[in-house]
């Protein structure tokens, strides 16, 4: 045998095993495969490497990615990740476990998912959370399908133009194949327009609407009247939220939403070029049986001890096949653990502080950027939390390039030609002053 650390078989092991099976070679185990399908060539792969060579290879590539100070959000936020989290997540009892089907030996996974569900319910104010989804945009697409399932017979879902571009794109992709009609609710002064919503509702076929809590311009939406208008039309309100911000901004339940979805990345998960993250999804009790994905419930074992299990499985693909509420058959379990530990570490006070510090830094940057004379306000009176856009008065591409060279990722050019900025609690006053200095240079 070759010297490969993950294959335990010695030549003698293989011989004995083949003998038990009653064949004379490993190739004989493929006698059922038509001969012309057996690959005889050499695989176009690199030569096998030692561990050290693997490490060197990645280190070389890692060095090609310059370290930047990030001043952009748009769906991925550079919040602080406490040291405890990677340490706990690397415990192999969590890391190398399978989906908790065998509940008797998966109580660790089931308990943290139950804690996660509780925290998502508490943040959104809604009754039921699933065990998590892939990411925010796919959770929004599932909300679209869920709205159609709740409404029966109605097949149009409204989406606010204020949703992040990638959220809109994923919803549109799912809708195209699922056969749902998507219509856009216009913006008015940087906010989702209630009158546009009402005009679209008059069309009659609307199952629900997906509206951001904080939109693509960073503006905190005022959703007064939205839930009422939708409910009157027999449609559901699904809100797309930043769960970090939910610690301070009005919750989906307070706005009267029926479903809440969003991306958990803002809860301290490293940006990691966009993944893995975790999507969350919660709803009112009435819609519980329409909720896609895994759900963990509390029960007792045969000796009366508190125990946790995967429950309400009659919604799922392994029981219902094509009639399931979704094809999803996992969650992003380890990332759900990530945000559960994060929220436990931060607590209500820490979450408030994260938002306060981000808010204060973002507003400082906003004012300083205006002072440079290179930007002007787009939505001057609209409240924002940590993210905002400005209209550039200079060549944005050239500016961005200059900032990259100075070690900053900032002033991302949006579809509308605005410059998008974001400040988290990780950015100090010195960081911001240096950024301004570079912009002025």
């Amino acid at each position: 045998m070759s010297n490969f650390p993950y294959f335990p078989h010695t030549a003698e092991d293989i011989r004995q095993m083949l003998e038990r099976i009653g064949v004379s070679s490993l190739e004989d185990l493929y006698s059922d495969v038509p001969a012309d399908f057996l690959f005889k060539g050499e695989y176009d792969l690199p030569d096998a490497k030692s561990e050290q060579e693997v490490r060197d290879w990645f280190e070389k590539l890692a060095a090609l990615n310059p370290k930047l100070k990030v001043f952009v959000g748009q769906g991925s936020y550079d919040h602080y990740s406490p040291a405890v989290i990677p340490n706990l997540l690397s415990r192999s009892e969590f890391l190398t476990a399978y989906t908790p089907y065998q509940c008797e030996i998966s109580q660790g996974t089931l308990r943290y998912i139950f804690e996660y569900q509780t925290m998502i319910c508490n943040l959104t104010g809604l009754d039921v959370s699933n065990a998590s989804m892939y990411d925010g945009p796919t959770a929004a697409a599932e909300a679209m399908r869920m709205a159609v399932a709740c409404a029966k017979k109605k097949n149009t879902v409204l989406v606010s133009k204020g949703l992040l571009p990638n959220v809109l794109e994923v919803i549109r992709t799912y809708a195209k194949y699922y056969g749902t009609t998507i219509e856009e609710i216009a913006l008015e002064g940087g906010q989702t327009s209630l009158s546009s919503l009402k005009a679209l509702l008059a069309g009659g076929d609307v199952a629900g609407a997906i509206i951001p809590s904080i939109n693509r311009y960073g503006i905190i939406e005022d959703l007064t009247g939205f839930a009422e208008a939708l409910h009157e039309a027999g449609a559901v309100l699904a809100e797309y939220c930043d769960p970090s911000a939910l610690a301070v901004v009005k919750s989906p339940a307070e706005w009267g939403a029926d479903i809440a979805v969003g991306d958990g990345q803002s809860l301290g998960i490293p940006m990691m070029l966009g993944g893995p993250s975790v999507g969350f999804m919660a709803c009112k009790k009435d819609y519980m049986r329409k909720l896609p994905g895994r759900i963990v419930g509390q029960t007792v074992d045969s000796e009366g001890r508190r125990a946790f299990v995967l429950t309400l499985q009659a919604r799922e693909q392994h029981i219902r096949r094509e009639k399931a509420t979704s094809n999803i058959c996992s969650n992003e379990s380890l990332m759900a653990l990530y945000v559960t530990v994060y929220l436990s570490l931060m607590g209500p006070q820490g979450m408030r502080e994260v938002n306060e510090k981000s808010y204060a830094g973002a507003h400082y940057l906003y004012e300083e950027l205006l002072k440079t004379g290179k930007f002007e306000p787009v939505f001057p009176d609209k409240p924002f939390l940590k993210e905002f856009v400005l209209r550039p008065l200079v060549d944005l591409d050239a500016l961005q390039k200059k900032l990259y060279q100075a070690g900053f990722f900032a002033a991302l050019k949006t579809e509308e030609g605005y410059a998008s900025f974001c400040v988290t609690e990780k950015r100090s006053k010195e960081d911001i002053d240096t950024l301004i200095h570079e912009i002025l240079r």
């Binding site: 099976i21 493929y30 690959f39 706990l88 192999s92 990691m272 006070q349």
Partner: protein, 488 residues
């Protein structure tokens, strides 16, 4: 493993904290935001100290079984060892700190990993091009089906609204097809467990978008008529989808692209050694043949003639965008580290050793468990329950569920049970290539011991597990009166 009965909320006491944040010296305050936009009270979250929190989650972890704890003979899940070098690579700060919308000139190192990974998967599977954007196997299936539908729609062929799925398919196949707006047509398996070509023939026509095949199928059997099936499906204008959940035995031996498949997905958390994480994050790359390359989702990573890497954000012929950014990069890093360790040399052994292990268990246990299909298997096989379930003792016989639960007492995970649906007492066993002969022998001994116990006194099995942190839970009450969050 020992029972531990706390939830993190139960450790909470007002005033405790476990965080520190820098004082960055700004003055603005949240009270500047109109009160009507703020929540009326803080959300209930735990207030704990760091030491208590760490001990809590460590205690929780100790009620969990993982690949590093013991053997998982879990059919169709490919629970192979998760190498530790992979974890080190995925934790490198130079990858973790990358924002997904950074300009491509600032992420050339990361894009090179993407590109090389796409290329390696194409080499291993014989497909032309790959996307790494789907986040899981089922997500890959859905993406693959979107590509198929998009291909037909681009040709103006709107009539292909049905997809053929064998009755032995994974449950996700019909579920993914339904989410993709396709109608499911089931094709039966023959007595030999393989898709029956004669049953397939009449289902084919101008309304068929394609067929979803798992090869080897969920019985661990190679669909030997695949050449004829491919020809028939292609002849009717349909495409062939390959469910890569069972790719492991073919690793280094057979390439789906060579069998005539047009689209496939892989599970990096199965075939390419990344950890399952208790149910994710995974990664479900999708590969396509040449004529479907333009239908791949966006964004796409491509290599330019000058050797630089680029991200293509939109394309008129693309099936669309299926995930937030470019999939689970953290998982892709791990899987590529594994591929570099395997290299062109070791890859040739992986599938063979997985197949060897499966056949070894099958031959060693067929005297105690019913083996409905006795031919050579690939990476997995299915028993249909015990030969002697103990019902001759006058007590109810031991079922597959009982065998599964009893295995937990001996330090093994259970096999996949009651799947595939072709048998009533299915026990689906997949050992993978990373288990030693000693581990397999220990498992075989325990399975024999359980069979002897069942024959003598099936109640030992009915009441199992005896040594896990909990005994069997009341699942009926859990579903009837759902308690889905901690009531505080």
């Amino acid at each position: 493993m020992k029972y531990y009965d706390k939830l993190v909320f139960e450790l909470s006491k007002p005033g405790r904290t476990a965080y520190t944040l820098p004082n960055n010296g700004f003055k603005a305050s949240l009270s500047e935001i109109p009160a009507g936009l703020l929540r009326s009270e803080s959300p209930v979250l735990p207030e704990v100290s760091e030491p208590d929190l760490v001990r809590h989650y460590t205690n929780l972890s100790q009620m969990n079984f993982g690949v590093d704890t013991g053997f998982y003979p879990l059919g169709s899940c490919t629970m192979k060892y998760n190498p530790k070098i992979n974890e080190e690579i995925a934790a490198m700060p130079a990858f973790q700190g990358l924002h997904p919308l950074q300009d491509e000139s600032t992420i050339q190192g990361a894009l090179e990993v993407y590109y090389e990974m796409q290329k390696a998967l194409a080499a291993i599977t014989g497909m032309k091009r790959f996307t790494l954007n789907p986040c899981a196997g089922a997500h890959g299936e859905l993406t693959g089906l979107m590509i198929i539908r998009n291909y037909h729609l681009l040709r103006g062929d709107t009539a292909r609204t049905k997809v053929i799925v064998p009755d032995s398919a994974h449950g996700t196949n019909p579920a993914s097809a339904a989410v993709c707006g396709l109608e499911i047509v089931e094709v039966k398996s023959g007595a030999n467990g393989l898709v029956d070509v004669e049953s397939l023939r009449p289902l084919l026509g101008p309304d068929i978008a394609g067929i979803m095949m798992t090869n080897p199928n969920t019985l661990g059997l190679f669909e030997k008529d695949i050449k004829e099936i491919a020809a028939l499906v292609h002849e009717c204008g349909g495409l062939l989808y390959y469910d890569g959940a069972n790719m492991n035995p073919l690793l280094g031996m057979v390439r789906p692209g060579d069998m005539g498949f047009d689209v496939m997905h892989l599970n990096l958390h199965k075939t390419f050694s990344t950890p399952h994480g208790g149910g994710g994050p995974g990664s479900g790359p999708v590969g396509v043949c040449e004529k479907l390359a333009d239908c791949l989702p966006v964004p796409r990573v491509e290599k330019l003639e000058n050797g630089k890497f680029t991200v293509v954000g939109s394309s008129k012929t693309s099936a669309g965008r299926v995930s937030a950014f470019m999939g689970n990069f953290g998982v892709i890093l791990r899987a590529y580290a594994y591929i570099l360790m395997l290299g062109k040399q070791n890859v040739k052994m992986a599938g063979k050793l997985a197949t060897l292990s499966a056949n070894y268990i099958k031959e060693s246990l067929k005297d105690a468990y019913k083996l409905p299909i006795p031919t050579v298997c690939k990476h997995e096989f299915v028993f249909d329950g015990l030969i002697d379930d103990g019902s001759s003792t006058g007590k109810p016989g031991a079922t597959t569920l009982d065998v599964a639960k009893r295995l937990l007492d001996f330090g093994f995970h259970a096999p996949t049970i009651y799947f595939p649906l072709l048998f009533h007492q299915a026990l689906m066993i997949e050992p993978t290539e990373t288990e030693s002969k000693e581990t397999l022998d220990a498992f075989i001994d325990v399975m024999h011991e359980i069979a002897r116990e069942a024959a003598a006194d099936p109640d030992i099995l009915h009441n199992a597990p005896h040594k896990a942190p909990i005994t069997r839970p009341d699942e009926t009450t859990a579903a009837r009166n759902p308690i889905l969050k901690c009531e505080l």
